[in-house]
């Protein structure tokens, strides 16, 4: 699996040398979304559906934006680090509340929290209110890539970060704590009576998921070049769940592949019928749930 993860992202970075700029953009955004969905995978495996990952996606994006706006920093790695730290710290605090809940209560509470952030951002003039604000073009380790190479450099950087994240999550899933995920989904009573705290395990997963969403948000912000409160809106969380269902949760590469397919469906649907593109997404989700309930890539196993 380690080989597959490293190989996939290396091949992606290499193949991108021949791809047009607009495709580099789509792929980088897919990696950003894939990071969020990778976190969602951890929660889903434990039976928890978070309708509020957009909260951390948005925190990551605004952390990156704030670095540029208030400190003049535009380094892509520092932006992602800031997004990860702020999102992770927020999740650590909120986790004490959320780790107590399961099922629909967990889902709706997480949704409510993301909508609170949306409400706050809309009212905050200093952060651009509903309009948000623009973010300066990314630099890497202080170097400013040539105009034609910015998108490629950002893609390579994000592929490297995504590969690292996928490797760490894959490894984590094999640890005793990681293996608790399906056990928590199946039978929390047995988990407690083997001597483990299900709540603590959920808390850890929640923080990891938020950290990944923070990285994804920062990456999306610097790629798109603009952020606004819509990133915290519930439809944004819905997108991540859509991708998770589309891709499946069977392995750590599925979220990224799923995000790419989602991007492709989205782009094509918008191209074919600008006014009813949501319908195309809906139909494809419907077909998927009926014919491939484990997702497009959920059944794939890597050796």
């Amino acid at each position: 699996m380690r080989f597959w993860i490293a190989g996939t992202f290396a091949a992606l970075a290499l193949a991108s040398l021949w791809l047009p700029q607009w495709m580099l953009f789509i792929m980088t955004v897919a990696i950003a979304r894939g990071l969020v969905v990778l976190g969602l995978l951890l929660l889903l495996r434990a039976g928890l559906v978070s309708f509020g990952q957009a909260l951390y996606y948005c925190i990551g994006a605004y952390s990156a934006g704030a670095l540029g706006r208030f400190f003049g920093i535009s380094d892509i790695f520092l932006e992602m680090l800031a997004g990860a730290v702020l999102a992770g710290a927020t999740a650590f605090v909120l986790g004490f509340l959320l780790a107590r809940y399961r099922g629909i209560f967990f889902g709706l509470l997480s949704l409510a929290l993301s909508m609170i952030l949306y409400g706050l951002l809309v009212k905050t003039e200093a952060l651009g209110s509903t309009d948000g604000f623009n973010i300066a073009r990314s630099t890497l380790f202080g170097a400013r890539p040539d105009e034609d190479w910015v998108r490629y450099a950002v893609l390579v950087a994000s592929a490297a970060v995504a590969a690292l994240a996928a490797l760490l999550v894959h490894r984590y899933l094999q640890t005793p704590l990681g293996r608790l995920a399906p056990a928590i989904k199946d039978n929390e009573i047995r988990v407690e009576y083997m001597g483990a705290s299900a709540r603590q395990a959920v808390h850890v997963k929640y923080v990891i998921a938020a950290t990944l969403a923070g990285v994804g948000g920062a990456l999306a912000a610097t790629t798109v070049g603009h952020i606004d409160p819509e990133m915290a809106y519930w439809t944004s969380s819905g997108e991540f769940i859509f991708i998770a269902i589309l891709a499946g949760t069977g392995n750590v590469l599925a979220p990224f592949a799923g995000a790419l397919v989602y991007g492709a469906i989205h782009t094509m649907a918008y191209d074919l019928s600008p006014n009813t593109w949501q319908m195309s997404l809906g139909v494809s989700l419907l077909l998927l749930i009926v014919f491939l309930p484990e997702g497009l890539f959920g059944r794939l196993r890597f050796r």
Binding site: R171, P182, Y193, M194, G195
Partner: protein, 261 residues
Amino acid sequence: MTAVLDAKGLCKSFGAVTAAAEVSAAIEKDSVVGLIGTNGAGKTTFINMVTGYLKPDRGEIRYEGRDITRLPPREITRLGICRSFQIPQLYGSLSVFDNMLVGLGIVLRNAGLAGYFSRGNVWDTRAVPGFERPAHEVAEHLLARFGLLADRARNAQVLPGGARKLLDIALTMAAKPRVLLLDEPTSGVSAAEKFGIMQMVLDGARAEGATVLFVEHDMEVVSRFAQRVLAFYDGRIIADAAPQAALQDPQVKRYVVGNRA
């Protein structure tokens, strides 16, 4: 003999129903104790209070001298008081082998030996006192002891009733019990298999040096395997004696065994 588990004056009621009224029992180390009584007599309530699932309204429970009355189940389990369930509590979507591995992973973590990056089947449980081998071997060993090795790759939820029961007990054994509480280990098991299963479980417990308490309705099983019997009726212990004496007790005959001789 010293009491490993000491319950004093336990009371518990659910509304108007009294599930435990001044229940006291001192359990000696290495003993095998049978808990008998009709449904609703308070046997499972007693087990639930000892393992922390229910908090008694009054009274206290000491384990090796330490007050464990208010501890949550996971902490009591970590101390070595482990239970199996009347209705097996398994990880249904996981294979039999993975059920064991998840359980051993928890034991490993609680021993402070599992870093976040110890991996898959190579978890090293050898440093955990009493294991002496890696996790997958411990799992295989326990599954073999309970005759489940052939089912190792099957999903827990598709196992037949008897095998589910055994897996539930094997999981409990993986937690390294020093006091083992078995809630009706032979219910739902065919009469022909009962003795074999009890023998298997008690051999396992003896090998681990665990004290055993088991809830049982079959008096033949009780008189054959228990060294001591606690008879429950209406939330109280009405007899506490060796099996033969307890089963001859007139109150036990009347309220528990059922024949009004």
